[in-house]
Amino acid sequence: MTALSPLVGRLMQALRCLPGVGPRSAQRMAFHLLEKDRKGAQLLVDVLSEALEKVQRCTQCRTLSETPACPICSNSRRDRSLLCIVETPADIQAIEQTADYNGLYFVLMGRLSPLDGIGPREIGLDALTHRLRTESVREVILATNPTLEGEATAHYISELMHQAGIRVTRLAHGIPMGGELEFVDSSTLSHALNGRREM
């Protein structure tokens, strides 16, 4: 039963490349754009094609950016001697929201995943070592996720940093704000105990 015109069908198929969009949502989106919001659809077309054409990786931190150096890397008021290493651009957003960090970033776009064949080259560690050689970085903050793969990545990078004689720190693990001990899982709690602080 193909009651739809081929082009509408193709649109629905194309929308399914988005994460979380199945046939049902794709149909809803297609009908919405074509029936109710043609202006919005035009805007989407324009912005999407412009973004596709212009957005590349930042040459310094590898995050997505339409200029060769992203706004953070080109901001002269940021502390250039601090470098925070994160797994994804979304992690930059999360850290920026804390407003506590004023240094620069380096995005791995992944993490070491020994069993998937994702090694140091795939996460841009060549670019990172090159950057550290050319810039004077005082401290590297490892903000990879507290998963095993994140830990493995952090360890690997810390070996590189020790070799280069740069101070390396790792984000602390602990209990979430507003959390209750009773509901915290045991490994987080044991990390929190090991990392306790003098008051």
Binding site: L115, H155, Q163, S190
Partner: protein
């Protein structure tokens, strides 16, 4: 497969590897004690509220329940029996090496309860290594011998066990002071001349490997060569990623 086998309750196991599946789920490759290696879908494990995600990490003793198709069943319950083995640094990469070997060499759904014990024992040894001695060479020796022993048991369990106690030509016991050529898939034969397809080993190394005593430096070195050649035969052309990473780490430090 009978109905009773479709539902498995509280099976002891370890996650070897996990990968994202759809938007919020994970596919876990699990090594269980009584059912061997199996792939399970953990539905919704990647959502913020899921209790499973932090449990789905490798090297954490788990009790798993699942149901459904044998080749890709659905995880129905997950609990951890103890905290994860506290592996860090190079030891963590070595533990990943064990996982990669199991992923590459174990056939799905083939139970290997003894190998499971050896796996747990190897993790236990790895975790204990930093305390065995402060000197790096002591730790490095312990690490190497732990990996070699696991490789030996793995080959044995999957049906490619090495012959280490007698010479396959005459059937005579291995003499500690003799020299042997280990011909892969056949066994040790006496002789010293370099055969390209065989690994040259001393009798004492063969005997040391047979009784899990790799304390002699020569034994450790020759065992490494033997294991590497034996594993290469069954691993095929694809390289072991963790081995390459470990080598790069050694080079860096």
């Amino acid at each position: 497969m009978t109905t009773s086998e479709r539902r498995v309750q509280l099976q002891a196991g370890y996650v070897l590897h996990h990968r994202p599946y759809r938007n919020t789920s994970l596919i876990l490759d699990v090594f269980t004690r009584d059912r061997g290696r199996i792939s399970l879908v953990a539905r919704g494990a990647r959502t913020a509220k899921s209790r499973w995600y932090s449990l789905c990490q490798p090297f954490r003793p788990l009790l798993l329940s699942w149901s459904g198709r044998a080749d890709l069943a659905t995880l129905t319950d997950l609990d951890s029996t103890a905290r994860a083995w506290p592996l860090t640094g190079k030891l963590l990469f070595s533990a990943y090496y064990l996982n990669e070997l199991l992923m590459r060499l174990l056939q799905p759904l083939d139970p290997h309860p003894e190998l499971f014990q050896h796996y747990v024992h190897a993790l236990d040894r790895l975790v204990g290594l930093p305390n065995t001695g402060q000197r790096p060479e002591v730790v490095s020796f312990g690490l190497q011998s732990c990996l070699r022993m696991f490789e030996k048991y793995l080959l044995q369990e999957i049906g490619y066990g090495l012959i280490l106690d007698h010479d396959v030509h005459s059937g005579a016991p291995i003499a500690a002071e003799g020299r042997y050529q280990y011909v892969l898939e056949i066994g040790p034969v006496p002789g010293d001349n370099d055969n390209r397809d065989a690994i040259s080993m001393s009798g004492s190394s063969l005997l040391g490997l047979a009784r899990d005593d790799l304390s002699a430096p020569q034994c450790l070195q020759e065992s490494k060569k033997l294991m590497r050649a034996a594993l290469a035969r069954y691993l095929g052309d694809k390289p072991l990623y963790t081995r390459a990473l470990l080598r790069q780490l050694d080079y860096k430090s």
